[in-house]
């Protein structure tokens, strides 16, 4: 069964004008339940646009369905109930003036108006989970998130995005704004969470070749709005950095792209 199925997805900016630019060109993509996909590609090849289209933030043609249900007609905030997303900027994922606990409660997506007992039970569970990541977030539940470090905020956002009945997780360069140590730590936690949650299908955009090789079970390279490389499991494991660089490098040296 396919969790996410994208058929003939096209996105064009300035449609109908002479300067029309196709960002995604009839992309087909099928994701299985335990897929952890790394998406590589140079800037402007439509990686982020692909995620935005899935979230319904840009107009597109084609169809997207999640767990066999088409979501094309759903508004962005309704899609967001099923899709967790973490962006590059640590500031976007959490609300800086709300405490860590309040952020988590907001993300819990339960409709309880004010159920202290349920809320406390929920926060205890979250504390337990967060303490297993060893960043010390669990001791700062009453601190406003604005005072946390970037890495902590990304982990918190990741936890919020993946924990609550998400059917799909989108990561848009979520480690790009962090130092190398914190980035590796966050990536380990990402993998950890995905294992714990019995695998939510995940799309991760990254520019870090090492991360792309090390994590995930599938790797996709985008170029000019088309998927040019799609390797899985064993094939991905046997993929070497050199081979990847070569295919990546071929794209980079493509003069037409540089001109654009």
């Amino acid at each position: 069964m396919n969790s996410l199925s994208i058929k003939k997805l096209s996105v064009a900016f300035q449609k109908g004008t002479p300067s029309e630019k196709k960002v995604l060109d009839e992309v087909n993509l099928e994701l299985e339940k335990d897929d952890f996909v790394c998406i590589l590609g140079s800037n402007g090849t439509g990686k982020s646009t692909l995620l935005k289209a899935i979230l319904g933030l840009v107009p597109y043609t084609g169809s997207i369905s999640l767990n066999e249900k088409p979501i094309d007609n759903e508004k962005p905030y309704k899609r967001a109930r099923k899709i967790g997303v973490v962006y590059q900027d640590p500031l976007t994922g959490t609300s800086p003036n709300l405490t860590v606990g309040e952020n988590l409660l907001l993300a819990s997506r339960k409709k309880s108006f004010l159920n202290k007992k349920a809320n406390r039970a929920f926060l205890n569970k979250a504390k337990e989970d967060l303490s297993s990541y060893g960043l010390g977030i669990e001791e700062r539940m009453r601190t406003p998130t604005g005072l946390l470090s970037g890495g902590m905020r990304q982990v918190l956002t990741l936890y919020m995005a993946s924990t609550f009945d998400s059917e799909l997780l989108l990561l848009d360069e979520h480690t790009a704004a962090l130092d190398p140590n914190a980035a590796t730590k966050v990536m380990d936690i990402t993998e950890n969470i995905l294992v714990q949650k019995k695998h939510i299908p995940t799309l991760m955009v990254t520019h870090n070749l090492d991360f792309a090789l090390r994590y995930g079970n599938r790797l996709i390279v985008l170029n000019k709005g088309k998927i040019v490389l799609d390797v899985k499991n064993e094939e991905k494991k046997s993929l070497t950095r050199e081979a990847l660089l070569e295919s990546y490098g071929a794209i980079l040296s493509d003069k037409t792209l540089l001109r654009e």
Binding site: T92, S95, L106, F113
Partner: protein, 289 residues
């Protein structure tokens, strides 16, 4: 006279609460407050004359909530700028308020009409005003601890985050502005009943009064993310502002000076808020470390 100032301070604290909700919590420069203050007073003067002073305040608040919701709808559904949608409602409500009072620009509450303030007993007036302010304040603090309340706060804080969580920010803006203007209108309704007089220009300049109140109040609060502390600060700020007003009247006998002094007061209190934490708290921090 002092009692009068404190009572007015409590009544205008509600105005400060409302403007605090829209300006600080929801991060929405909402100019509707001037209209909803008058609207609350207008509804209040009509209903009080009919003999229902308490209902008058609730209906007044409802009128304010309606005004706030219209501003929010203009902004969210039609994508009109925040300030402009506030101005549109403000302009429209100038007429609406006149319609409510049947085109009378000012009304004296007749002696026969009973308000909630027994004007012959200033202490009781103060007690009533203070308890209403405290109750409303507690309700606001409670609301912002509930799920929808937290969502309103987060909407003012980081709108993108709220929509990634699958919540519709439009709804929370409407809730927030409706609440803010309801509180402002309640303030107007109470003010009318206390003064036993209605004027269609009541609302003019109320925005500045509210902002001064917040700035004076905020100057003494260091942990500004606590709604409860801020509301307490605003209450004191509001009373302080009334004393300032009283002082100006006493020494100059010219209320016209008030505008200049308000502006100077804002600057002074902003300066105060830059003063670092008192030593006591610094010591506490040392003790912790």
């Amino acid at each position: 006279m002092v009692l009068n100032a404190i009572t007015l301070g409590f009544i205008f604290a509600l105005l400060g609460f409302g403007i605090f909700i829209s300006f600080k919590i929801l991060n929405f420069t909402d100019l509707t407050a001037e209209a909803s203050f008058t609207c609350g007073a207008a509804i209040s003067v009509i209903i009080t004359q009919l003999g229902f002073p308490i209902l008058a305040i609730f209906l007044g608040a409802l009128g304010g909530a309606f005004a706030g919701a219209i501003t929010a709808l203009l902004h969210t559904k039609l994508k009109i700028e925040k300030v402009l949608s506030g101005i549109l409602t403000l302009t429209a409500f100038y007429t609406v308020n006149l319609l409510i009072t049947d085109f009378k620009p000012n009304i004296n509450l007749p002696k026969s009409a009973i308000g909630i303030f027994p004007t012959e007993n200033p202490w009781l007036c103060l007690a009533i005003a203070a308890s209403i302010t405290v109750v409303v304040g507690l309700l606001i603090v409670f609301f912002f601890k509930t799920k929808p309340g937290m969502a309103v706060r987060a909407t003012g804080d980081n709108e993108a985050m709220v929509s990634t969580l699958g919540l519709n920010t439009d709804n929370y803006k409407i809730i927030g502005l409706a609440l803010s203007n309801a509180v402002v209108a309640a303030s107007g309704a109470l003010f009318m009943q206390y003064e036993r007089y209605y004027d269609s220009t009541f609302g003019t300049g109320m925005m500045v009064v509210g902002v001064v109140t917040i700035i004076i109040g905020g100057a003494f609060v260091h942990k500004r993310h606590y709604t409860s502390l801020m509301l307490t600060g605003i209450t004191f700020g509001s009373i302080a502002y009334r004393f300032l007003y009283m002082g100006v009247l006493y020494f100059t006998n010219r209320p016209q000076y008030m505008k200049l002094i308000s502006a100077v007061a804002i600057v002074i209190f902003i300066l105060i808020s830059y003063i670092p934490l008192p030593k006591r708290e610094a010591k506490k921090k040392e003790a912790k470390a």
